[in-house]
């Protein structure tokens, strides 16, 4: 009987590492380029992810600023660090850390989706705030880079096979 799980043939560490590296590269323009430009009464203001969150904080909307910072800056970085740990763990094979690293994998798999928050936010604001010269929100290239980074981190997590953390580990028996 073939006990290999569905999709396992698509999973391997080099693919995951390549996707994680590509995601890390895309995070640079994602954080340096403006994601949104707000035009009000002829005045234009462009914001990066970080400057947008800082502006929210200045306005007293610190819970929203924290949500944006967590979803758009902390989670992508945590995902890349976590993927790095997983890839190192997979190289080492089964160890006393395998159980902990498996939990890291489960956590990464869960939190990845929340990074899409800023992408949905930009799309929603661009669709709603279009009052001509009064006020208009225009999406900028930073949001494309950010969306690419998010998609790549999700693909990297999916490409990683968590069973590689347990390779050569003897099966438990009761």
């Amino acid at each position: 009987m073939n006990l290999r799980l569905a999709g396992a043939r698509f999973k391997n560490a080099p693919t995951a590492a390549a996707l994680a590296l590509a995601a890390a590269a895309m995070l640079v323009p994602a954080n340096l380029l403006p994601v949104l430009t707000t035009e009000t009464y002829g005045q234009s203001r462009s914001d990066t992810i970080f400057s947008g969150a800082v502006e929210l904080w200045r306005q007293g909307l610190w819970p929203i600023a924290l949500i944006v910072l967590t979803a758009s800056m902390l989670i992508p970085v945590l995902k890349l660090v976590g993927l790095g740990l997983l890839l190192l763990g997979a190289r080492r094979g089964a160890s006393s850390d395998s159980r902990r690293l498996t939990r890291v994998y489960v956590a990464l798999d869960f939190i990845g989706r929340w990074s899409m928050l800023d992408v949905f936010l930009a799309a929603f604001l661009a669709g709603l705030i279009r009052f001509g010269e009064l006020s208009t929100v225009v999406p900028r290239s930073g949001i494309v880079a950010f969306a690419s980074a998010v998609v790549l981190t999700v693909l990297a997590t999916q490409a990683f096979d968590p069973r590689s953390l347990w390779r050569a580990a003897p099966s438990s028996s009761s």
């Binding site: 799980l5 395998s98 347990w166």
Partner: protein
């Protein structure tokens, strides 16, 4: 799938022998603690009911006003996919497709698959189309993320509150109800993605082989 087939942990590959579970009981992998199978507490048709409810709510969510914003007498009504259209027209077509897929089409596809999998005339579980549907549901779980879109809209409305007058439309409430239905259908599904494909539909628990 019966109790004779082994359950394989999708996280560590440990094989287990299946045993019957009581409702609410969970079978954990002895090696990595992953959930291998759950005793179904909800009735078998709960997932079907919520999947159909979600599908019914998807249409008003897409067609009714989502959110409206007003400033100095000017009012703008936004639908669920207005932002997608703006992104498309701005030349950000890949981004528009991504938002359309993750916030609209894939959740819809996920609901359709859940409804088909739990339909009274169940597919033969040994057939390849059944396995394909279960696999598709497991794959869609990562990309169908309407709950993130709901959070984004709430964040945006708080952010805009001091700049423009924002009013929630009935489309947004329908979308929220659709998301709720999707999450319940997913959680009560007999083909929950947290349970490996090889154990899909099993009512078994696990002891190591």
């Amino acid at each position: 799938m019966g109790l004779n087939a082994p359950l394989i942990c999708h996280l560590c590959g440990q094989e287990h022998r299946a045993i019957r579970l009581e409702p609410g009981e969970k079978a954990l992998c002895v090696r990595c603690d992953a959930v291998l199978a759950q005793g179904v507490r909800a009735r078998s048709h709960t997932a079907l009911v919520f999947a159909i409810t979600g599908l019914a709510l998807a249409w008003p969510a897409a067609l009714l006003p989502f959110v409206s914003a007003g400033k100095f007498g000017a009012e703008r009504i936004s639908l669920l996919f207005t932002g997608v259209r703006i992104l498309w027209n701005s030349g950000m077509r890949a981004l528009a497709v991504l938002v359309l897929l993750c916030g609209g089409l894939l959740p819809l596809a996920y609901l359709v698959i859940l409804a088909v999998l739990h339909a009274p005339t169940r597919l033969d579980r040994q057939k390849s189309c059944f396995r394909l549907l279960v696999r598709s549901a497991n794959g869609l779980e990562h990309w169908a993320i309407p709950e993130v879109q709901v959070l984004a809209v709430l964040v945006a409305m708080i952010k805009l509150g001091s700049i423009v007058n924002v009013a929630i439309g009935s489309g947004f409430w329908c979308y929220c109800a659709m998301v709720f239905s999707l999450l319940i259908a997913q959680h009560t599904s007999r083909f929950n993605p947290t349970v490996p494909l090889s154990a899909a539909g099993a009512t078994g628990a696990a002891v190591p082989l």
